[in-house]
Amino acid sequence: MLRIQRIIIIDDDPLNNFIITQNIRHSDPSLEIVPFTLAQEALAYIAKLGAQAEHNVLLLDLNLLNYSGWTLLEELEQFPWINKNFHIYIISSSLAPQDFEMAEANKLVKRYIAKPFTHKEWSNIKLDIAASKQL
């Protein structure tokens, strides 16, 4: 049984949100997908979800308008439950090695995924979560 309640996407590029959404829908049409282009809005949404909302997947772009994905991660750390309730993946077009390294170093981040996001990436995420002892 796939233990995923909802998928939150944060990317200032709507086209990217579209591509991710379509790739997930294609294999799992029933999953709840919540896309954001503004970090502030996404942050407010996550805060609102609270400690009770489990099994969330967060797909986060690093290059946000007026905001950096790293800054957002710092903001998320304020929620004590974030690590328990969220599987966070970085989705970025950047191939810069320092971005990979920073993702690896971050405790909240599961993995760094370079764009384009394909169905294969989605399958890997599902396998990750299935294998995970978390949740």
């Binding site: 590029d13 086209l15 990217n16 579209f18 591509i19 379509q22 790739n23 294609h26 503004l38 690093l62 290059n63 308008l65 007026n66 970025s92 077009s93 950047s94 191939l95 810069a96 370079a114 764009k115 384009p116 996001f117 394909t118 169905h119």
Partner: protein
């Protein structure tokens, strides 16, 4: 009778009769003996025979005749003898007989004596009469009486006579036989001998030289009074001592040999010098003339006639020592010493001179040789020396320096000095001193000084030194500068009064404290130090100087004695250093930019590519809804366009970075602002933008026009774009002069502002956008920064949310002036 006569005569002649007289007496005696013998024989044989008697008678007659002859010969002798012989009957005082010799002595006839038997006593001179006082008492005792006295003879002459009176008593009468001999000659001789001896004594007693007499056994039998003065001994001190008690052991053998030698030959004399001990025990040098007078009557000794020559010996020794010393001195030097007489002939020379002449001319000169009158030297050399000798012989003292290239390079300093005696030049003394080493050293020093000066001039490095006093304080006036330091400080050598205090007056006031404290530390720790500071030269040009200072301490006390150091104009190096620092900073910035550029490419450029790839893979999927597919195609188009736009932006940016060498022109700020307001007039009017400008301080700039326009355009449009809602945009643009040929251009507005705390480091980044409600690519400020930096300037920002933003750009104002500065420098160096 003959016996009596013989006895009297023998007494007269002191027991030894002269030869002829003895023979005579012997004959007489024999004849008498023979007669008596014959007579006794005759008496015994009288009765023997008549014949025999007759024969005997004849013989007797013959013998009687012989006796008569003898008697006659004896009478002749008695009468012919020069002495007076007389006999007196003592009792009757009657003259019995007198020999004819009376007249020869007493001058009167014998008859006078017969008449007056006292005559022999009466003629005695009054002064001598006393000698006869004892005569009578003596003869009455039967003793012989002899005396010597003077008589006045009948002819009035005084003569010395000796009279011997012999008493003969025959039982009845006392007969006195007198025998008087003229002894005037003997007396005269004795007197003369006595006088001579007295004179001799007196002579040797008063002699200045010491005199000593030595007997055969070498005992001192006499020493003169003067010995006391010479050796301190009195005659009592030395008397009968052995000569060798006083002779130095080392000289004894020689003295002994000399004495042996002269003893062999009477009258020989030799000179002798030996050391003799004086009374104080000191050894004195004594010179003696030793004469063998052993054979001389009244002397009978070896005579030493001596004097003390110790002083002379000492002086001679000293002189000899001096001479040897002088010889050693003049011959131990390599310097040549010689003297010439007024004919240029050699008088004296040391070995060095002789050898030098020999090695150069091949001749051995000796005193008396003419130094130039030969063909051993080339005429040129002879000429040269002749002139020198002539000059000195005219009385001129001088020094010449002589150089010879072969066999080895050598220099000599030759001094010539005239020798003047009684106002006349009698010659000249010459002294040649080898100064090759000195010359080489001084040439080397001169050369190295020149090289040093040249090196300093070429390297623009000067040297200096300064002394410390005993309290380790710098002696203000002891500072010395090399010529190059003057030039470094912009002065002609010696133009400035150099002192420690003056040095500080030259240092730029901003660097003064640093320089002073560096020096103080160096003094305190006695360690070398390096100072880099600025000076303002008299021509108002600022230069950078690097000065080193080494502290020199006294080895014993450890106290600072002086400091020495160098000064070097490092302006060019400093400029290069600054330039290099700037280039380094630029490169670091450029590198950061490039990194950022790469990052931007990986993010911004890849973003649309990733989208295209993502959309493409979506399209490939089967059973895709039609509207999704359409959305995909729209996305593809959008992404492709975005990709193109980004590439165009990048191209634009890259072009800016390449346009550094764009031609620069003189641009008025007013014109730029005017052009921009014209191009965006509609927006300005619509938003009621107010632009205030103040270009009074700096009105124009020499720069790339397109860049300046772009900078102004972006900043003005940003101010309008990010205006606060409901507030009229107010933009103030002003210029300000900097003290280093730059201009500050300030853009101040009342826009929304940026949270500098949050985004401070990102405001000038590419594709950075901070305002979500306003359309923008986030390229404006990135472009402004790129262009400002391309012009060699920099940009800074101050902003506050809802208050406004102030952007300040610093640009180089006037490049022409910078070039002029360089020209000045070049001119300066050409002067050196």
């Amino acid at each position: 009778m003959n016996k009596l006569l013989e006895g009297q005569l023998a007494k007269y002649f002191n027991g030894n009769l002269p030869g002829d007289l003895a023979q005579l007496f012997s004959e007489i005696s024999n004849t008498y003996d023979h007669y008596e013998k014959k007579h006794k024989i005759l008496e015994r044989t009288a009765e023997i025979s008549e014949n025999e008697l007759s024969a005997l008678n004849n013989r007797l007659l013959k013998e009687s005749n012989e006796l008569t002859v003898v008697n006659s010969r004896l009478k002749n002798l008695f009468e012919s003898i020069d002495s007076a012989f007389f006999s007196i009957d003592f009792n009757t005082n009657c003259l019995l007989q007198v020999s004819p010799g009376w007249k020869k002595i007493y001058g009167s006839d014998t008859s006078d004596f017969y008449v007056n038997p006292n005559l022999w006593k009466e003629v005695v001179v009054e002064d001598d009469k006393h000698v006869l006082d004892e005569y009578e008492a003596c003869v009455l005792k039967g003793q012989l009486f002899a005396c010597e006295y003077r008589i006045i003879s009948a002819d009035g002459k005084t003569r010395w006579v000796e009279t011997k009176l012999t008493p003969t008593f025959d039982g009845k009468n006392l007969r006195i036989d007198g025998f008087t001999t003229d002894i005037s000659i003997r007396k005269e001789i004795t007197k003369r001998i006595e006088e001579s001896e007295t004179r001799f004594r007196r002579l040797i007693e008063n002699s200045y030289d010491g005199i000593a007499l030595l007997d055969k056994s070498r005992k001192l039998i006499y020493v003169s009074n003067s010995v006391k003065r010479i050796l301190g001994y009195t005659s009592a001190d030395m008397g009968n001592n052995n000569l060798f008690d006083y002779i130095h052991a080392e000289d004894a053998e020689n003295v002994s040999a000399i004495l042996d030698s002269i003893s062999k030959q009477a009258g020989s004399t030799t000179e002798l010098v030996c050391r003799t001990k004086n009374k104080d025990g000191e050894w004195r040098w004594i010179n003696s003339y030793v004469t063998n007078m052993l054979h001389e009557n009244g002397i009978g000794a070896i005579v030493f006639n001596f004097k003390d020559i110790s002083l002379k010996v000492e002086m001679q020794t000293a002189l000899e020592f001096d001479r040897k010393n002088r010889d050693a001195l003049i011959n131990s030097t390599k310097d040549l010493m010689w003297s010439i007489d007024d004919r240029m002939c050699l008088v004296t020379a040391n070995d060095a001179f002789i050898n030098a002449v020999k090695s150069s001319g091949g001749i051995s000169v000796k005193p008396g040789d003419h130094l130039l009158d030969h063909n051993f030297f080339p005429p040129r050399v002879v000429d040269k020396w002749k002139k020198r000798y002539e000059k000195v012989l005219k009385g001129k003292a001088f020094i010449v320096e002589e150089y010879s290239a072969s066999p080895v390079e050598a220099w000599a300093e030759i001094s010539f000095n005239p020798m003047i005696e009684n106002g006349r030049i009698i010659g000249a003394s010459c002294f040649s001193h080898d100064i090759t080493e000195k010359k080489k050293v001084s040439e080397y020093v001169l050369k190295s000084e020149q090289m040093m000066a040249e090196a300093q001039r070429i390297s623009h490095m000067g040297s200096w030194e300064c002394r410390f006093n005993k309290a380790e304080k710098v002696d203000n006036n002891s500072m010395q500068w090399s010529d190059e330091i003057f030039r470094i400080y912009g002065y002609n050598p010696g133009q400035l009064k150099v002192s420690y205090k003056n040095f500080f007056n030259l240092v730029h006031h901003e660097d003064l404290y640093r320089v002073k404290s560096t020096l103080q530390d160096a003094f305190r720790y006695k360690k070398p130090c390096v100072m880099e500071y600025r000076i303002i030269r008299p021509d108002k040009v600022e230069r950078w100087i690097r000065t080193t200072a080494d502290m020199i301490c006294d080895l014993q006390t450890g106290k600072l004695t002086k400091m020495i150091g160098t000064a070097h104009d490092i302006t060019e190096r400093k400029q290069l250093e600054e330039e290099r620092q700037k280039i380094t900073n630029d490169l670091i910035q450029r590198n950061k930019d490039l990194e950022q550029f790469a990052y931007i490419i990986s993010h911004n450029l890849r973003a649309p590519v990733a989208n295209i790839l993502g959309l493409s893979s979506l399209i490939e999927k089967k059973n895709l809804a039609k509207e999704v597919k359409e959305e995909c195609f729209k996305g593809l188009t959008k992404s492709t366009r975005l990709l193109d736009q980004i590439i165009m932006d990048l191209n634009h940016i890259l072009q800016v970075k390449r346009q550094i060498s764009e031609r620069k022109t003189q641009i008025k700020f007013r014109t730029i602002v005017h052009n921009i307001t014209q191009s965006i007039a509609s927006i300005i009017e619509k938003e009621q933008v107010i632009i205030n400008t103040d270009f009074s301080e700096v009105s124009e700039i020499y720069t790339v026009k397109d860049y300046l326009y772009s900078i102004f355009y972006n900043l003005i449009s940003n101010s309008i774009k990010y205006r606060q809602h409901g507030v009229k945009p107010v933009i103030s643009i002003s210029t300000k002069k900097s003290d280093d040929n730059h201009v500050f251009i300030t853009f101040k507005d009342n826009s929304q502002g940026i949270d500098m705390e949050k985004y401070g480091d990102k405001v000038f980044g590419l594709y950075k956008r901070f305002h979500l409600d306003v359309e923008g690519k986030g390229i404006g400020l990135f472009m402004v920064k790129t262009q400002v930096e391309s012009l060699g300037g920099n940009i800074s920002i101050a902003s506050e949310v809802n208050k406004g933003t102030e952007i300040t750009i610093k640009l180089l104002k006037n490049v022409i002036q910078y070039k002029e500065h360089n020209v000045t420098n070049t001119t300066h160096y050409n002067h050196r």
